[in-house]
């Protein structure tokens, strides 16, 4: 019996399909979700969602969010989510360098901007890491 998996971010549906297993990066640790899982609501941290379906595996980066698990359904409300296969490693690398440079120079910026840059850096780190570890055939 498969389980329904839906990953939505504020501006689009990233993924929806019936799958065999989902692994979530919860704030309290990774959680593997199989069909008929007990209902759970959990916050997500920066990390990678694994979606397994008939031997194939897909990966999605997620920049925090909320996941709701029902026996027949996993709904992930992501702050930002991307299919690892769609990430442009070059753009991610550029973004990281930009953010690192800004942070180094950024003695004078306001705390808000500093936090924003930090978040951008974390996102691009996550992307690069995810591509390195999970993209097949690279």
């Amino acid at each position: 019996m498969p389980i329904r998996c839906e990953i939505v971010s504020q501006d689009r549906i990233v993924f929806q399909d019936d799958v065999d297993m989902v692994i979530l990066p919860g704030t309290a640790g990774e959680m593997g979700i199989l069909p008929n899982h007990a209902p759970v609501l959990t916050l997500l941290k920066y990390g990678v969602i694994h979606v397994k379906n008939k031997g194939a595996e897909e990966f999605f980066t997620v920049a925090g969010g909320v996941a709701e698990v029902q026996p027949d359904q996993v709904t992930i409300l992501a702050d930002a989510a991307e299919n690892v296969a769609e990430i442009s490693i070059q753009r991610a690398e550029e973004a990281r360098q930009r953010a690192e440079k800004l942070l180094k120079e950024g003695a004078g910026v306001s705390p808000d901007v500093y936090l924003q840059i930090q978040a951008a850096l974390r996102r691009s780190h996550l992307r690069i890491e995810a591509v390195r570890r999970y993209r097949q055939g690279r």
Partner: protein
């Protein structure tokens, strides 16, 4: 009477004007489409988030309301987020939302501060000596969620700090190309009702499972995580709807301008032709008169 040269210049400048308004009309039309598309793309998230919220509110033993959900007994200060446009030339769009907001504020039970989104609204509010505490202008069109999220965190932060006891948002609801309507939404405290008229039946009807959830970390922290996101999303949707309305209003205004420019060109052209014809006729008369005079002189010689 103006000379033909002056009239030609005038016609040309009005033609240029008509071209500009026509271009603005076309641009606005495509922007409406994009804003509407962006708005409908937020629906899945909004529906799912609403589902989870309802679910949390319905859990047994959920007696202590989260601070973002709890109505406050004493309302001392209110915050209104007003969404307007950065640019003019959009007909009565900005005045409509301002008038609507001021009308609403009159009936509120406490003094009001404003957050202005859009330069025009900010200027109008300041000119009326309203208390504008924050200004988020020059958003791109359509904006990305990340560009709007700071408004949400500002609002939630000030609400939690008890600077304000209620937060409203006034925006322009996009109904269709020729119909837009100012509207108001209460952002905070968020009232999670099982049946909200505004939300379609399908959303509130789901989740009949009575099984008890496990929470990781706990209910309150999840609510702290999800309510601000939902608030930010509501603001995002309101902005997208307003932008669609703004562009539609501008499109109509520009179409009217183009039409009246064309009318003007037509009547000017008519007048110009008449004038030109009159001039030619006069010249012909002169020539004919001159020729006649010459001919009669020759005969008499």
């Amino acid at each position: 009477m103006a000379s033909t040269r002056e009239m030609r210049l005038r016609i040309r400048s009005i033609k240029n004007l008509a071209q500009v308004t026509k271009a603005l009309e076309t641009v606005s039309a495509s922007r409406v489409r994009r804003a509407v598309q962006a708005n409908s793309a937020t629906r899945p998230y909004a529906e799912k988030a609403w589902k989870v919220l309802i679910h949390l509110a319905r859990q047994p033993g959920h007696n202590v309301l989260h601070p973002l959900l709890a109505p406050r007994t004493e309302v001392k200060k209110i915050l209104v987020v007003m969404i307007s446009s950065d640019r003019g030339l959009a007909g009565a769009y900005n005045m409509n939302i301002l008038r609507f907001t001021q009308h609403l504020v009159k009936d509120l039970p406490a003094p009001v501060s404003y957050v202005a989104v859009g330069r025009k609204g900010r200027e109008l509010l300041i000119r009326r000596r309203a208390d504008v505490v924050a200004d988020f202008s020059d958003l791109p069109s359509p904006p990305g969620f990340t560009e709007v999220a700071p408004i949400g965190s500002f609002v939630v932060g000030d609400f939690l700090a008890r600077k304000y006891d209620q937060v409203y948002i006034t925006y322009t609801n996009f109904i269709n190309m020729i119909h837009q309507e100012p509207a108001v939404l209460k952002l905070l405290p968020l009232s999670v009702t099982y049946k909200d008229e505004k939300q379609p039946e399908s959303i509130s009807a789901t989740h009949r499972t009575s099984s008890v959830f496990t929470y990781e970390p706990d209910q309150n922290e999840i609510l702290s995580g999800i309510v601000p996101r939902f608030t930010a999303l509501q603001i995002y949707q309101a902005i997208l709807s307003s932008q669609a309305s703004e562009h539609a209003a501008r499109m109509v205004a520009m179409r009217n301008a183009t039409d009246s420019a064309n009318e003007l060109i037509q009547s000017l052209q008519m007048e110009y032709n008449k004038l030109r014809q009159a001039l030619i006729t006069n010249e012909m008369l002169d020539i004919a008169g001159g020729a006649n005079a010459l001919a009669s002189e020759e005969r008499s010689v």
